[in-house]
C-alpha cells in the first residue's frame, strides 16, 4: 500500500522563470521559455531536493497531472484557432514508457502529457480526473531539465502566439513512488 505521506506536489509555472508576460523569451537559472513566449519551456529541477528522502528510497515513480491554468492578459493570443488545440509534450524525465510513436513504432523520450484546448482571450482552469494524465518514470540524475512543448494537434507544428498577450501558465502535478 502506498502511503499518502509519500506524495508530493510539484508545480511548474512560467512566472518562476519571468514575471514579464510580454517577453518573447526569457532565460535564467530557473529555466527558459521562447518561441513567441510559451511554446517551449525548460525548467531546471533538482529532483532530489524536490522529492526528498523519497528520491533515495524508491526507483520508480508516478507523475500525475492535476490541473492546468492560465490567466487573462487582454487581447487574443493565438494566431488561429488551431493554435489553441494542442498536445503538451513533456521530456527530460527518465520515462519508463508512454513515449511510443505510432509512425516509427519506437519510443521517443517525449511523453504526451495532455491534450489541451485553451481559450483565446479568457482565463481558464482545466482540472483532470485523478488518472487522466499519469505516467511512470525512473530515477535518473538528481538534476534534470524538464521541457514542456506545445504543438498543434492538427499538424504537429509548434503553436503560434502573439507573444505580448499570451498568459503565463501553471501546471500542477503530484509525484508518488511505486513500491
Amino acid at each position: 500500500m502506498i502511503s499518502d505521506s509519500y506524495h508530493i506536489s510539484f508545480v511548474l509555472k512560467h512566472s518562476d522563470i519571468s514575471t514579464n508576460t510580454a517577453a518573447i523569451s526569457a532565460s535564467n537559472e530557473t529555466g527558459s521559455y521562447w518561441t513567441a513566449g510559451k511554446q517551449y519551456t525548460s525548467y531546471r529541477i533538482n529532483m532530489k531536493a524536490l522529492c526528498g528522502e523519497m528520491w533515495d528510497k524508491y526507483d520508480t515513480f508516478v507523475l500525475r497531472l492535476n490541473q492546468v491554468s492560465y490567466g487573462e492578459q487582454g487581447g487574443t493570443w493565438a494566431l488561429s484557432n488551431r493554435d489553441l488545440l494542442m498536445i503538451v509534450r513533456m521530456s527530460g524525465l527518465n520515462f519508463v514508457n508512454s513515449t511510443y510513436d505510432i509512425k516509427s513504432g519506437n519510443n521517443t523520450g517525449r511523453y504526451n502529457l495532455c491534450l489541451l484546448n485553451i481559450a483565446n482571450s479568457n482565463s481558464g482552469t482545466i482540472n483532470y480526473g485523478s488518472n487522466i494524465s499519469v505516467c511512470n518514470f525512473k530515477k535518473s540524475s538528481d538534476y534534470v531539465d524538464i521541457v514542456l512543448e506545445c504543438i498543434r494537434c492538427s499538424d504537429g507544428l509548434p503553436v503560434q502566439y502573439n507573444a505580448n498577450v499570451m498568459p503565463h501558465m501553471v501546471y500542477s502535478f503530484d509525484i508518488y513512488p511505486i513500491e
Binding site: L84, N97, N106, N107, G129, C153, D155
Partner: protein
C-alpha cells in the same frame, strides 16, 4: 468533479492521431479510404485504423513481461476542424447525427464484447458516446455557446474510468475507432453520404482527431 483517489501504479500512455496516418488537408472529403503502412482513414471520416502497434515497445519490457491482461482506458479525445473550410457548420436540428457512439476494434479483448441484441460476443466494443455537440464552444471545455462555421474542435476530458476495455497481451495489435449514430446503433456513418449540415459536414471539415489512452495492467 468526480475524483477517484485510487493511485495507479504501472501505467503507459498511448496517443492515436489521424495526423500520423495522413496530414493531407482534404483527407476528410475523400470518398475512398486512405491506407498506408501506418494505418487507414476510412472514407468520409467515419473512423480510422492504427496498424501494428507494438505493445512490447509501448509498455517497455518490464511491464510487458510482468502482466498478461491490460485495461485500455480512454482519457481524452479531441477533434480538430479546419475553420478555413466552408461548410463546417454543425447542424443543431439533426439530433441523429450529432449524437454518436464510438466503437473500438482490434485488441484481443478479454471481455466487454457482449451484444445485448444477439446475446453473443462480437469483435467490437462500445467505447463511449459523443453527444450534444451543439453546445461546444471555441472558448473552453464545458462552454455553452453554439458551434459555428468558424469553430474548430470537439473536445472532452473524460472524468470517468468506466470508459475502458480489457484485452489480452499480444505483441502487436491494430486499433480501429469508428463512429455511428447513437439512435440507430450503426457502427459506421458512411451509408448516408447525402446528409448535409450533419455529422458528415462536421467530419468533412476535420483536419484530424486524436485520442489518448491509458494502458493499465491488471494484477
Amino acid at each position: 468533479m468526480f475524483r477517484n483517489t485510487q493511485k495507479i501504479k504501472d501505467v503507459a500512455t498511448l496517443s492515436l492521431n489521424t495526423r500520423d496516418i495522413s496530414t493531407l488537408g482534404d483527407v476528410w472529403f475523400r470518398t475512398e479510404s486512405i491506407d498506408n503502412e501506418i494505418g487507414t482513414i476510412f472514407q468520409l471520416q467515419s473512423g480510422a485504423v492504427w496498424k501494428n502497434i507494438n505493445l512490447y515497445n509501448l509498455l517497455g519490457p518490464e511491464i510487458y513481461n510482468k502482466y498478461n491482461i491490460f485495461r485500455l482506458q480512454l482519457t481524452q479525445y479531441m477533434f480538430n476542424l479546419d475553420g478555413t473550410v466552408s461548410g463546417a457548420s454543425f447542424n443543431t436540428n439533426d439530433e441523429e447525427f450529432r449524437n454518436l457512439s464510438m466503437y473500438i476494434y482490434g485488441p484481443n479483448f478479454y471481455n466487454s464484447q457482449y451484444d445485448v441484441k444477439s446475446g453473443n460476443k462480437k469483435s467490437v466494443v462500445h467505447l463511449t458516446n459523443i453527444t450534444t455537440q451543439y453546445t461546444i464552444t471555441t472558448a473552453q471545455p464545458g462552454g455553452t455557446s453554439s458551434l459555428n462555421a468558424n469553430s474548430e474542435y470537439f473536445y472532452d476530458v473524460n472524468e470517468t474510468e468506466g470508459m475502458s476495455v480489457f484485452f489480452n497481451k499480444t505483441r502487436t495489435m491494430d486499433i480501429a475507432i469508428r463512429y455511428g449514430p447513437m439512435s440507430e446503433g450503426r457502427y459506421t456513418s458512411v451509408e448516408d453520404t447525402s446528409t448535409t449540415n450533419g455529422v458528415y459536414d462536421f467530419w468533412k471539415a476535420g483536419r484530424s482527431f486524436i485520442l489518448k489512452f491509458n494502458i493499465i495492467p491488471v494484477e
